[in-house]
Symmetry: C2
Subunit: 421 residues, 2 copies
């Protein structure tokens, strides 16, 4: 059996028929099924019958090498002078994973080149470069990896990439997209994409999301974007600004939403058209710049009735604290003197709202005014998670952190809406 | 000047013209303006001109006494045998507040009888009883007050109330509504309402919300409901199940939404019609029962990338912990051994998702399975805040807490939706 052959694979009580694809491991074979999705099957436990040889040309397969290692994780595949160059950066997650049939669940396994192999539909749209920054489930993403990711993306743009696609797990994609939004000034698009359903599922979104992300990375919008399904259908992906996006559903393919605004744009899967509905940073309008220092010692606390004040003791001596308060941005008034101590002690304390929509406004009620007097800053309508990432960044990169937290640096704080009436 | 007179009030550079209402304080006079909303004006600083005497009959004003005190905070007003009896329970918040013109902001000031005075539109719809449980801003609401509130509501229903309206600040209304949902089995409606805009604002929602809440309290739905504006217009209020509702906008009047479902029903302000779209507990279907013991030592922690594991040390020895995890319900895998220790140590640990929509499903990915093996329970699609309240309740009132947290007790955990495909 060779890549490109039409095969039938029997494993336990399941049968798959499709085209064999190159696999990144010796343990598994990968079969592209009729519906366009791919399955990985444990080679030892499978019986394979070749139905027809060489029915499908696997683009660039000759130039696809083995898994890259730390010293050699960049390669170019089938270079075409007429096409833009897009770098695929892999961090892991469902989009870069295949099915582990032993346990019935999903483990991360692919690097960027494997993704390209697994998504033949990407071929012909661009010249690709592949970089692997991590191979983790996104719940394990940590601030130092945001820094590394920003460095790699910076290197790739410096090396001439016309756009970057970051393959990322969906669980913490919004945090990483925020981090890169603050760390990089970019003359080209940086597009995060991922997958809510793994490649072995008929409803997998990995092919369409990857294809649309590449189209967005070729577009004129030089911002950090998140590109994920825009509806339950396979028609359009939505393009969200990295600092305003939120995973709002655990499992739906269109789980990602722009909070407090319409998405910045859409990518039509059928026509490959990228449309923008609002203003954006245009390609080449800014020079490339990297500022990826982060203050790690910043925490986020969500206030709920009955919260143990001892959580604030953990923050003592920390550089920063994001509070996710109730409503317009409140906490129990008993906590305010403690917050005042933290501020006096040098901790930058910033208020956001667990409402998600709307802006904190601490001047209306007594509690809010007391919070302001205690030195707590207002983050407007900045999302709590984005505010945490921003504060980590601002503490290392801003001369005036208070001013920075109350100013929009990367679209995270929207223009004041008409207040109240 | 007497209540019912048409008056013009000049204060500083503002002039109000309307009908004088009874005021609960000597310091302020209250004027009902043409638009239907009321303003409170500092009496000392105001010049008052009576334009016409006795133009408006204030229902029940003769029987309205002074502010109730702790020993005498229940009274009945203008009893009509043909009308149902509704108890108004006041806890404070914007709906029970008037404007403090000295500071330009809002301070809580009214008790339930004051609300009735301030909202003459409530007259003629029911016989009212008034109870004051607290006069706090809702960010200061605490679990012991939920217990007291449940006790008072129980007393009122036992005494013959055909429905109860709870006036509550909007910031933590969802938590209190959840608490009463678990604490009370009720044969009559218990309807929370509040106000996003104070009575002095042309856009105030206090009159319509109070009127619709009274209509809902007269309805056939014997559940704990939240009744707030259903749109930006003054046309309908939405009725939300107390355990599925969330304040999703900081300032909009229609800030409250049912998460993961349509609202249970609506109240049409014009026609006074209460409509239900889904099944509900019918009036008198259940006997009245109170179970308001709570375990206070339950915390909620929201996981974000880079979270300090020291927050888990605060939880050591606690009875319960609600985790607000990423996506399907994940945290950094480094935290799992620590969670396992907490569980072994007797802490009930329950996973929810910060996505808000959708259910946690810890069986799909390795991290999730590891969490389950560590003894972490899944809360399905229970909202994180509701899960905290429920765990506080279940630890005192359930023989099998794990079973309780994975079963719907008051509509908080919805039927499993079609998984995945």
């Amino acid at each position: 059996m060779n890549p490109g052959d039409r095969v039938r694979v029997d494993r336990a009580d399941r049968t798959f028929e499709g085209v064999a694809l190159p696999s990144s491991t010796d343990d598994h074979l990968v079969v592209k099924l009729e519906g366009g999705y791919n399955v990985g099957v444990d080679r030892d436990a499978a019986e394979v019958e070749v139905l027809a040889e060489d029915v499908y040309e696997i683009d660039g397969r000759d130039s696809v090498g083995s898994n890259g290692d730390a010293d050699d994780d960049t390669s170019e595949i089938a270079f075409d002078d007429d096409l833009p160059t897009i770098t695929l950066v892999s961090t892991g997650g469902t989009i870069a994973s295949t099915v582990d049939y032993r346990t019935g669940a999903v483990t991360a396994q692919f690097d960027a080149e494997d993704v390209l192999r697994a998504v033949p539909d990407l071929a012909g749209r661009a010249n690709y470069r592949g970089r692997v920054v991590a191979n983790i489930l996104s719940e394990n993403m940590e601030p130092p990896l945001w820094q590394e990711l920003a460095t790699v993306v910076h290197e790739e743009i410096e090396a001439g990439a016309d756009g970057v696609v970051v393959m990322h797990g969906t669980d913490t994609m919004q945090y990483s997209a925020s981090a890169l939004s603050f760390m990089l000034e970019t003359p080209v698009p940086i597009v995060f994409t991922g997958s809510q359903r793994s490649a072995d599922r008929p409803s997998s979104d990995n092919v369409m999301n990857a294809v649309c992300a590449v189209e967005a990375a070729k577009s004129d919008c030089a911002e950090v974007l998140v590109c994920m399904h825009g509806s339950e259908s396979d028609d359009v992906c939505a393009l969200h600004r990295g600092t305003r996006v939120r995973k709002n559903h655990t499992s739906r393919r269109d789980a990602f939403e722009t909070v407090g605004a319409e998405p910045l744009g859409t990518v039509d899967y059928e026509t490959e058209t990228v449309d923008f509905r609002r203003g954006y940073q245009e390609r080449d309008a800014r020079d490339l710049a990297l500022a990826n220092d982060l203050e790690a010692d910043v925490e986020l606390l969500k206030f709920t009735p009955g919260m143990d004040p001892a959580f604030l003791d953990v923050v003592e001596g920390s550089a920063g604290l994001i509070l996710e308060g109730t409503g317009l941005g409140h906490v129990h008034t008993d906590l305010i003197p403690r917050l005042e101590e933290l501020v006096a002690d040098g901790t930058t304390v910033v208020m956001t709202s667990q409402c998600l929509e709307g802006r904190v406004c601490d001047r209306v009620y007594d509690t809010g005014r007391d919070l302001l007097e205690a030195g707590v800053l207002e983050a407007g309508d900045t999302l709590p998670g984005t505010a945490k990432v921003k504060l980590m960044w601002a503490l290392e990169n801003s001369d005036d952190v208070a001013e920075a937290m109350q100013t929009s640096l990367a679209g995270e704080l929207q223009e004041r809406s008409v207040p109240w009436e």
